[in-house]
């Protein structure tokens, strides 16, 4: 099935397209087809310069999303476009909070399947083949759609592609028909809370320092934060300590959680469960500190230190402080 029109979900933060949006646009350009972005929210038109610079020619805007969670209105607008023959053959969506909502809603609305958790996508004999990292990244499952249902929907993990601008001109802006909204659109945002996190974002940081169960106690996580701050990096966490309520879900690196590709990933007291490895094993360099010499994390570490985080981290912090 040939692909002639691609839509890329354009999400934004601080009036800029998110990195995953730019990564997906960059991939879309490799298909040599018409590329549209689809966005929503206040001042979404201001994204047109940047989206154009990464290859989109049109920005389709979902009007009046207002205080609604975007899942229903955005999926509804895309479904409306598909049903009236103006929709895409291929829809690329980032594996984000809202992206997953939109993909799930749209899939059920249009009765089309969706491939999620995609860590690679390529054209093979006119078919798009998706890669999925399984069993802790030791194996790669390759999948594709078998029917002719359209559009093909892929939900793609961050860092699957790297973003490169193409110096295209700003996009046209086109308003979509949102269609009739029903009771499914009843969830409304009352207030937004920003949790102050100084330093770079977890998935954009050059250095990530993560902590796990081996820290022994919630209070020891402050060493992870301090170390991250000293290195101008971002603190992260394993699923175990997120599940235990030590730190919020937003800190989680792994299959459930963020994918990171920093220059250096420092895993402190993290054993390296498959679920965690998927999220960080593509870091350029990995340092692991763990008491258990048999911990699986050492099999991916460039520098492995068998030892107690509670002894090593304070010394490391002191040493770095003395260099300030």
């Amino acid at each position: 099935m040939s692909i002639s029109k691609v839509w890329v979900l354009a999400e934004s933060a601080d009036s800029k397209p998110t990195s995953i949006t730019l990564e997906l646009l960059t991939f879309a350009r490799s298909l040599n087809t018409e590329i549209h972005a689809i966005g929503w929210g206040e001042n979404v038109e201001s994204l047109s310069t940047e989206l154009g610079n990464y290859g989109a020619t049109t920005l389709n805007v979902v009007p009046n999303v207002g205080d609604s969670l975007p899942g229903v209105p955005v999926a509804s607008a895309i479904a409306q476009a598909v049903n009236s023959g103006n929709g895409p053959d291929l829809l690329l969506i980032g594996a984000t909070y809202d992206g997953r909502d939109i993909a799930g809603r749209l899939s059920a609305k249009l009765n089309v399947p969706v491939l999620t958790n995609v860590t690679g996508l390529e054209l093979q004999d006119e078919s798009l083949v998706a890669s999925h990292s399984i069993f802790g990244g030791t194996q790669v499952a390759k999948s594709k759609f078998t029917g002719n249902s359209q559009p093909q929907i892929f939900v793609i993990r961050a860092k699957t592609f790297s973003a490169e601008p193409s110096s295209g001109s700003p996009t046209n802006v086109n308003s979509l028909d949102p269609g009739a909204m029903d009771s499914t659109n009843a969830a409304k945002i009352v207030s937004r809370h920003v949790e102050e996190r100084s330093g770079p974002k977890l998935d954009e940081a050059d250095i990530v320092v993560s902590g796990g169960r081996g820290l022994s106690d919630k209070s020891n996580y402050s060493m992870i934060e301090e170390l991250a701050k000293l290195l101008k990096g971002a603190p992260g966490a394993s699923r175990a300590i997120v599940d235990a309520g030590w730190v919020p879900y937003a800190y989680q690196v792994g299959q459930t959680g963020k994918t990171v590709k920093p220059t250096v990933y420092i895993a402190c007291g993290i054993s390296g469960a498959t679920q965690h490895l998927v999220g960080m094993k593509n870091a350029k360099n990995i340092i692991a500190i763990n008491k258990d010499p048999e911990a699986p994390i050492f099999s991916v570490a460039d520098l492995g230190i068998v030892g107690d985080t509670q002894k090593i981290l304070p010394k490391l912090i002191e040493e770095l402080k003395s260099r300030l």
């Binding site: 969670l69 194996q139 969830a187 879900y249 937003a250 010394k315």
Partner: protein, 259 residues
């Protein structure tokens, strides 16, 4: 308030996973346990039903071979009853087919609230709950870290990139919860004994008004056609800390010109 909690019974994540060499489906023919991610939903459901002063928690699960061991764990925690959909026709179902099955089963109990995990610990698809909500024509709030019931609606703190949003939503609705939001209770002896006699309603695809063609590998419109070994990462130097190992970290970072 009546709550349905979706529970997935999965192969023990501590054991190495295995794919069926013919179909590339994850093998689920061994012993299955309740997905840890679902224990938070079960706990949340129990707490909300208790604080609402009445109502019960019903579990809904789709699993092969009439597997109930994971359901018994949740029943032992305090859920009142369970619906199990187990049918050979379901083998190889994709996420949307799974959602159709779960939605049809949930519809039978007309709950006020449906709770699911944000994603399972074996498939990680993460779209099934929202598909269920759409098929039932219900609103959904995903990635909840806190839920409170206020009359006929709920207030939810929903995880976002920047922090969280406070969201209100009228009931009935579907909510997905992230792990760590509540402390799941351990089943006590009394609970475990009671769980043995709690009702588990056994359903087949035909009981749900679905046809075998809509589900399972025949209904799936996606296929895993190949599984290959990932590029392996080589382990580097491993040293044992004798009091000076922090210096190794410093010089490693120095070499990369990061400090």
């Amino acid at each position: 308030m009546n709550v349905v909690v979706c529970v997935k019974q999965i192969p023990d994540p501590a054991a190495p996973g295995e794919l069926d060499p013919n179909t590339n489906n994850l093998r689920r023919d061994g012993k299955l346990i309740m997905d840890d991610s679902d224990s938070y939903g079960v706990e949340m459901g129990l707490q909300l039903a208790e604080s609402a002063g009445g109502g019960e928690v019903t579990l809904v699960s789709m699993a092969p071979n009439n597997e109930t061991s994971g359901l018994r764990t949740a029943l032992a925690m305090g859920a009142a009853k369970a619906t199990l959909i187990s049918d050979d026709a379901l083998s190889g179902s994709d996420a949307l087919s799974t959602a159709k099955v779960l939605a049809a089963a949930i519809k039978r109990s007309q709950p006020d609230l449906i709770i699911a995990a944000t994603e399972s610990s074996d498939g990680y698809t993460g779209t099934t709950p929202v598909q269920v909500a759409e098929l039932l024509n219900l609103p959904a709030v995903t990635f909840a870290k806190k839920i409170t019931v206020e009359g006929s609606s709920i207030k939810v703190e929903r995880q976002t990139e920047a922090g969280y949003d406070e969201v209100t939503c009228p009931l009935p609705a579907l909510v997905t919860v992230t792990a760590g939001v509540v402390e799941p209770r351990y089943p006590n002896f009394k609970g475990i004994m009671a769980a043995k006699s709690k009702p588990v309603d056994d359903l087949k695809v035909s009981d749900l008004g679905l046809t075998a063609e809509e589900v399972g590998s025949t209904g799936a419109r996606q296929v895993v056609f190949e599984v290959v070994a990932a590029e392996a990462r080589q382990a580097g130097e491993k040293i044992v800390d004798e009091g000076e190992a922090h210096k190794e970290v410093v010089s490693f970072l120095e070499k990369l010109k990061l400090i």
